[in-house]
Amino acid sequence: MEEKKKDVLISVRGLKTYYPIRKGVFRRVAGYVRAVDDVSFDVYRGEILGVVGESGCGKTTMGKSILRLIPAHSGQVLYNFPDGEKDILKMEKAEMDEARQKMQIVFQNPYSSLNPAYTIFGTMQEPLIRFGMKNKAQRKEKIAQLLKDVNLPEDCMQRYPNEFSGGQRQRIGIARALSVDPEFVICDEAVSALDVSIQAQVLKLLKELKEKKNLTYMFITHDLSVVEYISDRIIVMYLGHIVEMAPTQELFENTLHPYTEALLSAIPVADIDQRRKRIPLQGDVPSPVNPPSGCPFHPRCPKCTERCKTEVPKPVTLIHNGHEHMVCCHLAQTTKSE
């Protein structure tokens, strides 16, 4: 399956997003929070790309930087439009506004992402008006269809967000994101705020919609069981860096980075036969203001060597069982090359 889908939709190259820290009377820039620090990867058309990592590792910032909702410091986000590849980060405003039709986002918190003063129709018609659907009857018809797609009754349109449960709101958020017929949707912790029984509804819905509308997802989450269920490929992030990237099954079966290993062992599994040994990590995630020298993971790494403390590992793509497996670790590279 991976072989035939090499149609690149987005390629991210050297993306850096720094947040300035301002201090003093003149609000001088005293330093930077390196939220996303030099990440490069491709998103293939039609895949679900999972992004996992602890809180504060830069998952959300990366997602928002790709959509240019947060200005990036440097780097390129090349989007494959029908008329050729263009860098999203360098687009003029008018051009950017048009491009937004292609890419949408579903936010984490369904309680704060809908305007409580607007009816569902009011909220959902805004993107349609923006992208040229001036006829109200037409908009109504379109919104009714969208609501049907996410399994909500048509009469929801006249109601306000407070009348809906979390799961229903999240489905409205999904319907809104899909209203402009995007190609690429970022789901930023789209199911994390939902109750367990509702999570499954939304996950299934997202999978169905992807098939029906030929979507490409970037699925940002901290829940590894969700990401294993939904993704084709997984990116593991740590402190603004991508430490490992591989197809889902490959990543779970042949984990190369010590961080991914620790992360996988730390997850409580909802299967009572699987109580297992953990690799507890020492210490906390270091501050992205002052990232450690060398490998960003070395202060917590159980396999840390002298080399890790000084030299930053370069991402290396290995081919294992026919899968591309990218890893950013000195150890994995040496063991493989020997």
Partner: protein
Amino acid sequence: MDNNTIISVRDLHVNFYNNDRCNRVIRGVNFDLKKGKILCVVGESGCGKSVTANAIMGLLPDLSRIEQGEIHFYDNDQDIRIDQLPRKGREMRKIRGEGIAMIFQDPMTSLNPVFTVGYQINEALLCHHQAKNKKEATGKSIELLKQMGIPLPEKRVGEYPHQFSGGMSQRAMIAMAMSCHPKVLMLELKNQEGTAILLITHDMGVVAELADEIAVMYMGNIIESGEARAVMKNPSHPYTKALLDSIPVLGRGKDQDLQPIRGSTPDPYNRPKGCQFAPRCDYCTECCTQQMPEEQIVEPGHMCRCFHNLFKQGGDA
């Protein structure tokens, strides 16, 4: 009642009153908490898990009342009826902390941002006479932080909560909760020393990992409870079964078939007449819509409230 029981809750009913309406939040809950055991209470938001815990702590909001039932706390062979103690009285304040400690869901908001972490742990120690003076208390605080695996406790004890990460704040909270060696520890979400633990969560992963016993709640009732393995392997209530079928399990890959529970939880002011789960249940029959089933023992130590005993059906097949 065996000697290991520390807390026993019998037929607990709690009502909330607001806007001239009455919400019967807890509708007849029974369970025992035993020494050194972890009881996990699982359920969706609004099912009454936290209210149950707050009732035990005597922390119910003003507009609520324990209508019926008993909460026993067995402390050194004394039988204390928590439900009858004044919520803000002296005895209750003594139990809170020394007898039962609670750790709240959000570590970032449960510490006071204007005091140092050390000061807050000292406060608990001094209040409950675990330390004679400030100096001794600080020494104990450092020791507690060290036990929780916080690096450089001597330095950390003088720091403010904003200097702590989320995980560290949560550990500081646990240190505070453990400071007075309580008999019962109640955790919302995420342990030791022969303490009974009531763990409130909706994460089945955490449950599978830690629980000795499980109680599944739905709309104010414990609908199934028992030994962890029995409940997870042989769920006998359709809700428990549905809940287990609806979550992705790590290691089962992309092909697992998730079965979402249809519909959503009913409005607490407009509840179904009979079994609360009936409108969403695949096994629902006439009698389910009329009457809430009683507690049934399906096997020793495994209780279920359902007319359709899935345990029998599934177990024999």
